[in-house]
Structures are given as structure tokens and as C-alpha cells.
Symmetry: C2
Subunit: 277 residues, 2 copies
């Protein structure tokens, strides 16, 4: 059974209160805590929620960019969200998240009124077993947010905790296919979809099969469906694919596709990730 | 022979003059004109040039996002570029381009000091014939900027002007492989690399083999090399690959890879494109 959207941890974690024109207050939520500060995906969703709940909002989210400029301490924060330009069918937003007047996150969003056009999906939906046939990966001990997702890896998971280091072999590629679903189960919307786009291990972990210091520096999401299409998806698991193109000089990219169970492309997302050897 | 970088049209088109702290003036240049207003790639390069030439700049460009919020009229413009946050090895910028106090373009950039780490390229450099063996595609009559590039299509070009509509068949995919080089020849740098990331036909043209109204709404570039690596590249042609994942409800994505001739991945770029039937 679904929790109502008002009391689901994702809704509590992304909740914003308007305080002045173009200004909102929010607070980190322990259910989406990471090792230090909040999970980046919930921050992306919270940044998106400012224009999404703004009184002047036009249309549905089309593009979102979030730059992780500095750490966020557990506690309250302020988001400024300005409609930089409103056109007939598109609207451009600039957002900034601050704590004690220090900028921690910057971002931008494009909203659009979608309409029917010629349509085609060129990327291929991978042949994968159903999520019910795969065991759920155990969440992490030190990452509260991993308890908020049911993740079932088709390929490209990480070794179980306690595996001896000498048993690990680097992989030839960093590709992962994983079924992901909110916990507790929750109907998919733009907030949960944005958050899921960051719910992948940094590709350097998967490729090298070891944990190194790594963190997302900037993430962009393109939404390929409108609100009605998302509502039709319901609360089923989505299939996420993730891979890197290049690792070098301290940074690597990560390309993500998010698919519905019946093969509808919901979002594509890209990020650049800092890593250390 | 190279033109000096001071007099090359790309340098003239992206030139900015500081007018006040965090403020610059620039102007469109007819050499990079599009059918209406300037070519989006030169605008992306100009947006990047504000932090790049800013007195407080730290490191090299790592990520750039440019949102095309409204049209730019031929003539002067102002760019505001703020260092939102400066860390030990990264710096986050927010940029806005305005004409007569109306926002036309918003954007953000991440700069970083790069350092040696474990490195790997996972994407494959395509097997392609050398650019010398391919004929240059004729530039467009109504797009001045296409005269600023030598483009040689390995695959995924557009039909020659004058081809009868009934002779055209939609393609099964939107993939293009194309050698691209600045004209006049110019050593590659972050400005020309950013501009090249937008120098691809909208994928909807290639897939459907017809021209429809289409324009870039938002573009993100990840730079995979630092200034020294770019300098080593010189003025050779780069190989660009472009494809779409999904077309629907008025928008499609476009994923781009830019490779050096000897197989070094220089940049990956993504954009979301508006199109009409």
C-alpha cells in the first residue's frame, strides 16, 4: 500500500515553505542522510521543488541542472528560485541553496508545456529479468538514504561488504543495470525521478570494484515525459542504466537512462563526478 | 597557416570587455550569425569566456551549462558572471546574458584544478576514414556560422540542397559521425571546443531527413582534458559523434562525444532540443 504523499519521507525531505517572493525554507531529513550531509539526489529533488511549487510555475520540468558547490550541514537551508524568463511555452529558472548566507548548491531548470508531436525512442530498452526474480541488495550501514530505495542489480553491482580485497577484480566497464523503487513504495513524480537519477554508485566504484573518495560535482536531468505520463507509471520499479565514458585527471562522467517497466524512456541524466585514487 | 588568436573570428565573436566587478560587455559577430540571431555554440563559448577571463578564475573548465531562454538580437549584450563559491580545487560560476535588461541566456560553470589520477576511456573511438579522404559538406546559404567550420560527414549527414522531397527516406537512427575543424584553422581551446559541441544538426533533421523548426533549449558540456592536453591537440580536426535517445512531446535529447584524431576523448555534451512536426 502506498503511503500518502504528504507523509512519505521523500515528501518530508523535499518540503519547502515560502518565506518571501522567490524564497523558500527547507531542512535536511535524516531519512535521506549520506555519510556526510544529505544524499545528492534528494538535494536535486528539493532544488526542483522550488520552481515546481512556485506560484508562477508554467508547465512541467524539462531540464534540471544542479551544481554541488559545497557541503550541506544537517539542518535548515534557504532556496532562492527566480523565474529568469517566461515565454509562451517555456520558463527558465535559476536556483541557489544557501546555509547561513553561504552558497552550497546552484542550479537551473527549464519548464515547458508539452504537446503531442512525432515521437520515437532510439535508445534500446535492455533485455532484463523482472525485478521480482532478483534479490534486493542490502542497504549500506552508513548511508541512511540507501534504505529509502529497493535496488535490484541485473549487472554492475558492488561486492558484498566483507569480501576480501584480493578477491576483487577490476571490471572491463562500469555499466550497471538496476531496478529501483522508492521505499516505502510511492507513485513516481518529478521529485522522485530527479532523485533516482543520482541513486547510482559513482562509476569509478563499479569499474574498479573498490570504494574511493568520490562525489557528484554537477548533474543534469532531461525529463522525457510529462506529468500525465508519469502519473500513468504509478509506483512500479524503474530500470536504471549507468555507464561512464571517460575517467581522468580526477573526474569522470556518468550517463544514466531511466526506463519504465514497460519500456517508456522517462529520463536521461548526466553527471560529472570527482574521484581520488 | 593559423590566424593569430586575437584576430580569428571566433576570438572576435567571444571577446568580452570588463565593465564593472563581475560584469562584461560583448557583441554578436556576423561571422557566427544563424538564421535569426547568433549560432548557439558561439553563445555557449561567450558565456564560458566570462569566468575564463575573470580575474578570480581558478583552474580549467570542467562543466558548462547554457540555457537558451530567449532570442538574442544582433548587437551588444551584457554578461554577469559571479563566482558563487570557490573551494580549494573547484570553483562554481553563475552567468546571465542580458540585452536591455532582458535575460536571454542563463548558465553555470564549474572550474577545477585537474591532477593526475588513474585514467581510462570506456567509450569507443569509432573506426572512421581520415578527414582528408572525405569531401567537405557545403556550408548553408542562410547560416553564416556554417562557413566557420570544415565539416566532413562519415555518416548521418543531411541531403544536399535541392534534393526532391520524395527522394528522402527517414533513417532508422539519428547517428552522425563528422570531422569538424574551425575555419580559418585555429588551435583548439575551451572556447572553440564548447562551440563545436553545438555544431551538430538537431537530431530530428537527421532522423527524419527533413528540416523542421528546431532549436537548442539547454546544453551541458563536460570537458575531459585540461588546458595542457588541449594545447597538445593543436589545430587538427576533431571527430564529433551525435545521437538522440528519445523524441517526444516537442523535445528530444542529443548526446555528443568530441574526440581528437588520435582517440583522446576531449568532451562529452548533451542538449535538449525543441522541435515542431
Amino acid at each position: 500500500m502506498n503511503q500518502t504523499q504528504d507523509t512519505h519521507p521523500l515528501d518530508l525531505a523535499t518540503r519547502l515553505t515560502p518565506t518571501a517572493p522567490n524564497r523558500f525554507e527547507g531542512a535536511t531529513h535524516p531519512a535521506y542522510g549520506n555519510m556526510v550531509g544529505p544524499f545528492g539526489g534528494i538535494i536535486a529533488a528539493t532544488m526542483l521543488n522550488a520552481p515546481l511549487t512556485h506560484a508562477e510555475r508554467l508547465g512541467d520540468p524539462l531540464a534540471l541542472t544542479v551544481n554541488y558547490a559545497g557541503p550541506i550541514a544537517d539542518g535548515g537551508f534557504e532556496i532562492a528560485a527566480m523565474p529568469s524568463r517566461t515565454n509562451r511555452s517555456t520558463q527558465h529558472w535559476t536556483m541557489t541553496l544557501s546555509q547561513n548566507d553561504t552558497v552550497a548548491i546552484t542550479g537551473s531548470a527549464v519548464f515547458a508545456k508539452r504537446r503531442e508531436t512525432w515521437t520515437a525512442t532510439e535508445a534500446g530498452f535492455p533485455e532484463v529479468p523482472a525485478p521480482e526474480t532478483i534479490q534486493r541488495t542490502a542497504p549500506g550501514d552508513r548511508n541512511a538514504w540507501t534504505h529509502r530505495y529497493d535496488m535490484r542489480f541485473v549487472l554492475g553491482g558492488m561486492p558484498a561488504p566483507g569480501t576480501a580485497a584480493q578477491a576483487l577484480e577490476p571490471r572491463e566497464d562500469s555499466l550497471s543495470w538496476v531496478w529501483i523503487r522508492d521505499l516505502p513504495v510511492r507513485p513516481l513524480d518529478f521529485l522522485s525521478l530527479a532523485s533516482i537519477c543520482d541513486a547510482f554508485f559513482p562509476r569509478v566504484y563499479v569499474r574498479r570494484q573498490q570504494f574511493v573518495p568520490a562525489s557528484t560535482v554537477s548533474m543534469t536531468v532531461y525529463f522525457h515525459v510529462d506529468a500525465d505520463q508519469l502519473a500513468a507509471h504509478g509506483d512500479q520499479a524503474v530500470l536504471g542504466t549507468a555507464r561512464a565514458s571517460h575517467f581522468g585527471k580526477g573526474y569522470h562522467d556518468q550517463a544514466v537512462e531511466i526506463w519504465s517497466r514497460d519500456g517508456v524512456m522517462l529520463a536521461t541524466s548526466h553527471q560529472v563526478v570527482y574521484y581520488k585514487d
